[in-house]
């Protein structure tokens, strides 16, 4: 390809929107030497904390390594690892480096490598070659520590020029979670399907994202002008002025139409025939709460508590630290009901948290969600204590992730009651009732939803996992992302079963998967009897509008006809038709291009 010539690449659209900016390759950066820069006084504690985190990650890794070596009977190697583990506590590694960071006010990597270099020099002077060789152990350890420092820091988002379009091989959730939408204007990755967690976060933050681009081939394009079209999945490199102008115009148009939508979020959400619908927000970050209120949700339908601590890379977070976070959550939610989903870890979400536990061949089918919490009751109890202390009289409800069996639900409820009794006995909190809800995301509980509903105060259908478990398709696999979507009749029938049962027992049920933020699915869901939706705050205006354009009776008919269908393609087609019909504009001018546009919408969700 020639320098400066406009050319286009086709990827898979993941998060909609248009981004215009300069490319920034994060993998290209990672291979370079150790970053060195000075830090401000108020960043010192943060740097030190980052350093401690790297050390504790190292410890976890070494312990894991040690266990493996032990099981293979390699005692000599175990000794070496043992002394490395000991060295992690060495004052020269701990206190000395921390003091230096405080003193010289430079980033951890720079200070740490300077300390090691100093040490190296002393060893070089030794006459005894045997001791000189001991340096190997220390250098090995220091490499490991630096690896952890830089791995977590591979993407130092504060260093990315504002407005960049970030190119990476893949994004892990803690990276995407750490990004402020104001800094990064778009993402391009090689792997990561439309339903990966990184994609969910990008969508929630309104960052356009295109995947399935062979990033390695374009490493030499650092700092080039890029247009990213999150609608079509197109990447335009070195755009000509005409192209640029056209996209700028599209971008402004998208912005204005969104603003118009936002203006009527304050009104009640009713269907054309006056059926009241409740819209809640999915939130995973305390900083998003303020903006959330602009969209006037009736409450937080899903607070993903594990996202609060993703950057910590561990779930052993002190009760006090969690308490502070939940207090902030309660305060910032300004009195609306908050459903806190207890730590839902595992699967594709945060494998690094699992490092200290057993490696799983199949983490998505492994020890995640409630299974993890019941196996680690201390983590569960600490979280519950912190939540209950922070909740006091606030309308806080508890949601249990990945329930697949009635005993899990009973056991979790027993622990919740125990923790509360303890707190009441200790005089820390006063007795109150917590509503306890159950996530419906594993097919097994759909079939026993009569029993599950009896034991729960409310239900929440998480369609993303329900789709992947029902279809047996990995949702983070890009090859599957075209097929792994909720228009499958099995999923729709399951939603119906659960909603019917919940209605029979008079228990509320909310839909909180991505399906709840896709306007195309809203009429169908309404027709199935759903009247509570929880979605990313940005999608609330779309959902509210979709509800307002729907006639409940028509939605019911739509649902009945779709329940007769067996082909997902047929179902998507029918949904698109119904949705275009419901749009006031297209009723007058039902052009096929409009349908094509909507078709694109279906795919991007």
């Amino acid at each position: 390809m020639e320098e400066g010539l406009e050319f286009r690449l086709q990827g898979a659209p993941v998060s909609e929107g248009i981004a215009i900016g300069a490319s920034f390759f994060i993998n290209a950066q990672a291979d370079e030497s150790i970053p060195e820069f000075s830090i401000k006084k108020d960043q010192v504690d943060k740097e030190i904390e980052r350093y401690r985190l790297a050390l504790s990650d190292c410890r976890v890794e070494l312990n894991y390594l040690k266990k493996n070596l032990e099981s293979e009977g390699l005692t000599e190697a175990v000794d070496i690892i043992d002394s490395q583990i000991m060295m992690l506590d060495d004052p020269l590694i701990t206190a000395h480096v921390e003091e230096k960071i405080r003193k010289v006010k430079r980033n951890t990597e720079a200070v740490f490598s300077a300390v090691i270099r100093e040490y190296e020099k002393k060893f070089a002077k030794m006459k005894d070659s045997f001791f000189q060789q001991r340096l190997v152990d220390i250098l090995d350890l220091s490499k490991r520590i630096l690896g952890h420092l830089c791995a977590k820091n591979k993407i130092n988002f504060s260093e990315i020029p504002i407005g960049s379009i970030v190119f990476a091989k893949e994004l892990i959730p803690s990276h995407t979670a750490a990004i402020q939408a104001s800094r990064v204007s778009g993402f391009v990755t090689q792997s990561g399907g439309g339903n990966s967690h990184a994609a969910l976060i990008a969508r929630a933050k309104g960052i356009p994202y295109v995947s399935s681009i062979d990033v390695d081939l374009f490493q030499n394009l650092q700092g080039k002008d890029i247009i990213l079209d999150g609608q079509t999945g197109e990447i335009i490199i070195n755009p000509e002025k005409e192209t640029l102008d056209r996209y700028k115009e599209v971008k402004t148009r998208l912005k204005t139409s969104y603003k118009l939508l936002q203006q009527d979020v304050n009104h009640n959400t009713e269907t054309v025939d006056g059926y009241l619908v409740h819209v809640f927000a999915n939130v995973g970050n305390l900083n998003d709460l303020e903006e959330m209120h602009n969209y006037r949700p009736e409450g937080i339908g899903l607070f993903r508590s594990e996202y609060l601590f993703l950057e910590k890379h561990t779930l052993y977070i002190s009760e006090e630290e969690q308490y502070q976070a939940y207090c902030e959550l309660v305060e910032k939610s300004k009195g609306v009901p908050v459903v806190i989903r207890v730590f839902d870890i595992g699967g594709d979400k945060n494998p690094e948290l699992f490092f200290e536990h057993e490696k799983e061949a199949n983490p998505v089918l492994g020890c995640r969600g409630i299974r993890f919490l019941l196996r680690h009751p201390n983590i569960f109890r600490t979280q519950l204590r912190a939540i209950m202390r922070a909740a006091r009289d606030a309308d806080v409800r508890l949601l249990l992730p990945l329930i697949s069996d009635i005993h899990e639900l009973e056991e979790a409820k027993r622990i919740i009651a125990e923790v509360q009794d303890d707190l009441v006995d200790q005089g820390v909190v006063t007795k109150r009732t917590y509503q306890i809800g159950c996530m419906i995301e594993v097919p097994s509980v759909v079939f026993i939803c009569d029993a599950i509903t009896r034991e729960s105060d409310f239900l929440s259908i998480g369609t993303n996992d329900l789709v992947q478990y029902t279809l047996g398709m990995d949702r983070s696999n890009p090859a599957m992302s075209d097929f792994c979507y909720p228009a499958h009749p099995s999923v729709i029938r399951m939603i119906k079963m659960v909603v019917m049962e919940a209605r029979k027992q008079n228990k509320p049920v909310t839909i909180c998967g991505e399906i709840a933020s896709n306007p195309i699915f809203i009429p169908l869901l309404l027709g199935l009897g759903v009247n509570k939706f929880s979605c990313s705050p940005r999608y609330i205006p779309y959902v509210k509008r979709a509800v307002r354009n729907t006639v409940l009776l028509e939605a019911y008919d739509l649902a009945q006809s779709i329940l007769q269908m067996s082909s997902p393609i047929e179902i998507s087609k029918r949904l698109v038709e119904a949705y275009s019909d419901s749009l006031p504009l297209t009723k007058r001018d039902k052009s096929s291009s409009k349908i094509e546009q909507v078709q694109v919408l279906v795919q991007t969700f």
């Binding site: 040490y119 006459k127 005894d128 001791f131 001991r134």
Partner: protein, 88 residues
């Protein structure tokens, strides 16, 4: 209390990583401060990396300085492991 004692390194490989680990394990929770001096270099004996830095091979003489309330106890533990050559 302040104690000082000179001792010979007896094990064949000197104060390498393993003996250093043994020493640090032995005294890391001690209240006293402990330092080793050898070849005119003084280091914190609660640091493996410090001990390694002494490059104390077989037959070198290490001065152990212990200061603190449990000095007596720390010193006797240390001399014992030095005497038996760290079990090597």
């Amino acid at each position: 209390m302040k104690l000082s004692y000179k001792i010979k390194v007896k094990n064949p490989l000197g104060l390498h990583a393993r003996p250093a680990t043994v020493i640090v394990r032995l005294i890391q929770d001690a209240k006293s401060s402990v330092s080793f001096t050898c070849h005119n270099e003084t280091v914190n004996a609660k640091s493996i990396m410090g001990i390694l830095m002494l490059a104390a091979g077989k037959n070198s003489i290490v001065r152990i300085d212990v200061e603190g309330e449990d000095a007596q106890d720390v010193m006797s533990k240390l001399t014992e492991v030095f005497e038996n050559g760290f079990g090597e």
